[in-house]
């Protein structure tokens, strides 16, 4: 298809030409106002937290025609919605250019569109209505849930999935490689946490390019369990916090086992992160905070009780836990929207067969 065909297609299929076609220059002015308001809304509200439908509209008729209800009450404060679970919402952009919360009542959004540009978000879909026409919004970024929201949480999800595959599975990250006490990757060194944190911090700094600030936290106590904070530079009310825990065995230089972490440790980390998210929601209610729980899994079956000797492991024992998912009770990722599904990252050993 050549560019002329594509231009014609855009004119037929998209919302900005539609607004002009239906309402002329007034429609064009209004659709830009609606898009800017929708962007402002998503700067404070994460689309994935929306459970209902969101409507933003503005009447295209001049105010002097008297059909527009003057604003009543204060303008909507999008920041106050930041950490709430969102159901149905409706905002009208009034003659002063500010959004006001409206209750639609018996009026349908199709009826509103007779004299207004209407934006509607529902079930991860977006559309604009003008007069009797409606156009879905093309989404240029497949990660984004809205064309008007730069994806932030999903970028980090994608990065963590890559990290598990590319860096942890075969210990290819040169920082992460240092966590092992032995060449066969059976035992961690004692206290491998800071190396794990440095490895993931470096990866995220590289992967999330210049759009995010990534910084490691120094753990001060168990009440502040967060290992890494990630903040998008363009949306300063979004905060992503990452907690890292490891499973497996660690040993000191003499070969004595210093820690043996199994399922209970994984649960402990989930509980800590959930409590920390609760605290953050209380102390920073204007922030949209999402918790990400990374579990480095190096469990091995039939390990020797002491790591002093040069140990080897069969594939059956070394990979025994690779496909064994962890179960959580309570499971915060199943009950709250601000807690992602835990990222279990299995670190394979070098097997002798």
């Amino acid at each position: 298809m050549n560019i002329a065909d594509i231009i014609n297609q855009v004119c037929e299929e998209t919302h900005v030409p539609m607004a002009h076609e239906i309402f002329g220059d007034a429609g064009l002015n209004v659709i830009f106002q609606v898009m800017e308001t929708v962007q402002a809304f998503y700067r404070h509200v994460e689309p994935e937290r929306i459970g209902g439908q969101v409507i933003v509209f503005r009447d295209v008729r001049p105010a002097v025609q008297g059909a527009i209800i003057p604003p009543r009450g204060p303008a909507a404060d999008f920041a106050a919605l930041a950490n709430q679970d969102i159901g149905d919402l409706c905002f009208e952009i009034a003659v002063d250019g500010r959004p006001y919360t409206r209750v639609l009542g018996e009026t349908t959004y199709e009826e509103l569109a007779e004299t207004a540009i209407v934006y509607r978000y529902y079930g991860e879909q977006e559309e604009f209505l003008a007069g009797s026409q409606r156009k879905p919004v093309s989404r240029f970024d497949p990660c984004a849930r809205s064309q008007f929201s730069v994806p932030t949480f999903s970028n980090l999800r994608e990065a963590l999935q890559h990290y598990a595959r590319e860096n942890i599975r075969e210990s290819t990250c040169y920082i992460f490689r240092q966590v092992w006490r032995d060449a066969n990757r059976l035992f961690f060194r004692a206290g491998p946490e800071s190396l794990m944190r440095d490895s993931l911090t470096q990866f995220l700094n590289n992967r999330l390019s210049g759009n995010h600030d990534v910084w490691p936290e120094q753990k001060v106590n168990e009440k502040n369990p967060v290992d890494i904070r990630v903040q998008p530079r363009f949306q300063n009310n979004r905060l992503m916090i990452i907690e890292i825990k490891w499973l497996g065995d660690s040993a000191d230089d003499d070969g004595h086992i210093t820690a043996r972490h199994r399922d209970a440790r994984a649960q402990e980390g989930a509980d800590q992160l959930a409590n920390y998210l609760n605290e953050q929601r209380r102390s920073a209610p204007g922030h949209v905070i999402q918790g990400y729980y990374v579990i480095i899994d190096a469990r091995r079956r039939n390990l020797p009780k002491n790591a002093a000797a040069v140990a080897t492991i069969s594939r059956a024992d070394g990979l025994h836990y690779e496909s064994q998912e962890l179960s959580f009770n309570p499971a915060p990722h199943l009950t709250r929207p601000d807690f992602d599904e835990p990222y279990r990252m299995f670190a394979r050993p070098v097997c002798c067969d």
Partner: protein
Amino acid sequence: MTRLNPDATFDCLFLANRLHIQRASVSAQEIHLFAYLACLLWLYRQRAVSDWGYAFVGTELGAPFSRDIDVALKELLERGYLRKVHDRVSPTEFANQPLRDLTELGMNQDRTECLRAACSSTAAFSVGMVSNALAKEPELSRAKAIPSSRLLLEDAARSQLYVQFEALRTALHQRSNDLRLPAVVWLSALYRLNKSAADET
């Protein structure tokens, strides 16, 4: 001593102010990007490229860069009209009055229309999307294909661009005179072109 280009200086002030209102802060690269988009809209209006007042080169990464914008940004930072925080610039209070005065000048009306329309495209697209779409514009896509910086919008190279603008004018025939409409339609078309090329490879 490097000469300060008055058009580039006005554009820096205007774009930093406008994008700052929309998005809190702006990077130097984004100033170059939106100045270039405004310059292309100037050509869409069938005005001479030489009247824009300064030139752009395409970097090997496919991004537009103007030396005059670069010099103006540094000078505006030096003189306190802009401030820089973490590689991003925003206007200071000292920029308000000169920007108002310059915007009201009759000689700046035509370029202000282009600058405004360029900035308005961020209502429909993120900056990254504008950048990706523009990378498919004939001049920048040629710059990306050749691994060295080269001057953009030279006489011989503009023909393909004019073909696109003619198609755009035909499609929007008898529609609005508002430059925001062709800006958004063209960027959407470039983005689709970019995507279909990526899907084919």
